[in-house]
Structures are given as C-alpha cells and as structure tokens.
Symmetry: C2
Subunit: 258 residues, 2 copies
Amino acid sequence: MKTIKIIKIGGNIIDNEDALATFIKDFSTIAGPKVLVHGGGKLATKLATQMNIPVKMTEGRRITDTETLDIITMVYAGKINKNIVAQLQANQCNAIGLSGADGNTIVSEKRPVKTIDYGFVGDVKKVNTVVLNILLSNNVTPVFCAITHNENGQLLNTNADTIASELAIGLSSIFNTELYYCFEKNGVLESVEDDDSVIENINTESYKALKDNHIIFEGMLPKLDNCFHAINQNVQKVCIGKSDMLFNTNNKHTTITK
Amino acid sequence: MKTIKIIKIGGNIIDNEDALATFIKDFSTIAGPKVLVHGGGKLATKLATQMNIPVKMTEGRRITDTETLDIITMVYAGKINKNIVAQLQANQCNAIGLSGADGNTIVSEKRPVKTIDYGFVGDVKKVNTVVLNILLSNNVTPVFCAITHNENGQLLNTNADTIASELAIGLSSIFNTELYYCFEKNGVLESVEDDDSVIENINTESYKALKDNHIIFEGMLPKLDNCFHAINQNVQKVCIGKSDMLFNTNNKHTTITK
C-alpha cells in the first residue's frame, strides 16, 4: 500500500498570509498522495461582525444557526478554500477543494439535542473513499474545508480536527495513513508557557496520567481524543506540532502511539 | 462519442428557493454525463449591502475590486455552490462543486486594461479536460461557479455564460456536446414583452439581420455571441430558453445553428 499524508492546518497558518504562502509552497513539495484539511481561523467571526450578526451562545457554547452556517459556508468553502486551491495550483500542486458534500465524501448527522442544541453542527458518520481514491490515483490533491452534509441536502459545520481524523481512518483501508495536526505550538507541552517542553511521545497509558495530573486539559483534550481515535483505527502514524515537523525531521513534535 | 449536456442556470432559478429545488430534482434525472454552471443571482449584491461595501462602477461598468472578489468567492463558490451540491446529493446525483482553480479546470487571464480597468475579471484562456474527464467517466457531475484562476494564485470573476460555452467547446474533443442556456424567458423573443414570440431558430445570417433590426440588443448580445462562439467550435447543439426545455420536448425555445 502507498503511504498518504493527511495534514490539518489551523488558524495560526490560515490567518497569516505569509505563513500560509510559505506553508502552501512547502506542502506542494510533499511527494506522494496527500490531503489538506483546513480550519476557519478568525475570518468567519470577522465577517459576522461586519454583517452585524451576533455570535449565538447557549450555556457558554457557540451555536451554529442558519445565518452562522451561511457565514461558515461562505468563508470556509468559499474564500479560504478557493484561495488555498488557487495558491496550490500556482505551486504546481493539482488541488481540488472539497466539502463533505462534494463527491459525497463525508456524511454526518446533525448533533442530537441533549441539554444543548448546537444547531447545524455535524458529527461524522461515514467517509466515502470512492471519489477520493479516484482523485488521489490521478495525482489530484483534495483540500477539505470543515463542512459536511447529511445526504438530505443539509450542510453541517464540522470540527476540522475530526474531519482530518475521520479522513485518515477512512483512507486507511486503501493507504498506509499518516495524520499530522499542525498548530501554533511545537507539540503537546509539559508546561503551556514553555514551547521547548514538548512531550515527544504519548500513548494511551501516559495520556491517562497526563490528564489525571492536569498537564493536558481544555482544548488539547478533543484534539488528543481525535488522535487516539485515529491511532486505534488503523492510522499508522499521528503527530502534533508546528508544520515545520513535516519538512524538517529534526523538529521536535509529539507522536501519538497506542 | 457519448453525448454530454452543459447546462447553465441564472438568477431566476438561483434566487428562488422553490424553483431551485424543482430544477435540481429534474436535473438529477438527466441520464448520461452532464455539467451544471450557475450564475450568482442577487445574493452577492445583498451581501455587499449587508457588509456596507459599495458597488464600484467606472464609466458605468461594474468593477471587481479585492473586496468584491472576496464577496463573489464567498457567495458563488461557497454558499450557492455548496448548497446546490448538497441538494444534488440528496437527489442521488453525485455532484462535485468546482471553480476553475479546482483541478486547474479553467485558466483565465485578467482582462487587459484598455479604457476601463475591470479589476479581477478573467477572460478564459484554456479549459483543461483531464480532471473533468476523470470525474465524468466516474459518473460524478461537475457543478461550476463563475470563478476561474490565472495559474499564478489569483482567482478571477468570470462570466457564467462564457464559462458554459468554453466548457462545452473544451469538452467537445471528448464528447458530443450540447449547451443549454436556461433563463427566465422561453427563448430569444421577437418582442420582449411577448413570451410566446420565441424565435425558434437563429443562424449566423438571421442573427445579423436581428441585430441590424434591433430585435436583439443589450444583454442578449453577449449571450448569443457565446452561443455562436460555441456552435462554430464543434459544439453540436446550443439552445436558449426556460429550463423546462430540458425536460419537456414540446417546450418552445431557441436553437442556434451555424
């Protein structure tokens, strides 16, 4: 089986024009099949402010109502996705921008209402690899925004980290799959303030201890849960760190193992 | 060679939720390879107003500046394109939404500045059929918004009628190509006020006479120029009318011939 790299980038790259241009140039040089997944950064919030659409919160959680879903679709699938694709093309990477609706690649269901109704937020149910495999076999690089659909015509806002892990799991039936979460830090840190305090390896056992000792908390928990979900479902390699880890093997980062 | 239908829809369908739902349902039943091209309708202007971004005009012509290009990219490639794709998927049509940057399908160049600088407006230079053919051979239906790129990272606002004719011409090397322009009238009319006064056939000779007699004028001229451009470059069939012409052969419409 060929090896594929699924690479997720977040706001620290998306929101910085120079960082994005550098990343895209480097990403284009990666040999072999690859998939890019991008988050939304701060642009959606900026657009909502410009349009005078308030951020909707319920019990401290952000809600995706119809207007917010429209904004997300415009910013993620429109502005960010198409500009990334155009820049990849300029770097001779034959990219194609996708939401989960395109090619029916990622099917999700609206998150069930328990105490909170999150609105148009989707939990991934299924990744269809048919169209993805056709594209990848023809050296076309899929670029995913964080939007999926429910097969009944409804688009759904979906966590970009989850999209990356589910794509990696789905593609593991036809590729050796490597999943890279790029963010603003060098990896999972012992001490949040010290970017050199990278924990280079986390396994199921040490993860439990790191949680119990409150060294890993808050926003890192869902990211790491996505990592362990992937590594426990046939993904061969899962790494977290700065995007430099992809291009410089000496760059410290965190590797997740079973 | 197989026959492919390239179908362009405009604002009268895009701006009307029920009309769009009906069209999508009908479009999904069309057998064989097909491509949908959609215009933008009124949503871009609405968003610009909401964002307090004025429409830029020079010498009476609309200009696509950076802010306007962003709006167009968000509305056309984001909101409209992804919602159409999701609805097509709900009707078992395996659609994939594309700009000309995606798969490097449509390359354009920024319109040269003569008396007017139109801004980020692209004139189509080339249609690349490689990725399109891969998708179409696998029963995937491309859905194009009216945005192209220049292969140097720049997205460009491009006339949707032109995109449809250039796609039809480009695809004519691998398919028998039929091009359908759907709009709010039954076809090219003898009298603008009378929707029954359809001119059922226009050829190069009668087109000249219709122009000379000012029966065809203004907005219809670029549309018809696109039609003749297509029919003179290997497109087998070019029709203009209400979208009903696709589904009901008794429906009057205009056919363009050499």
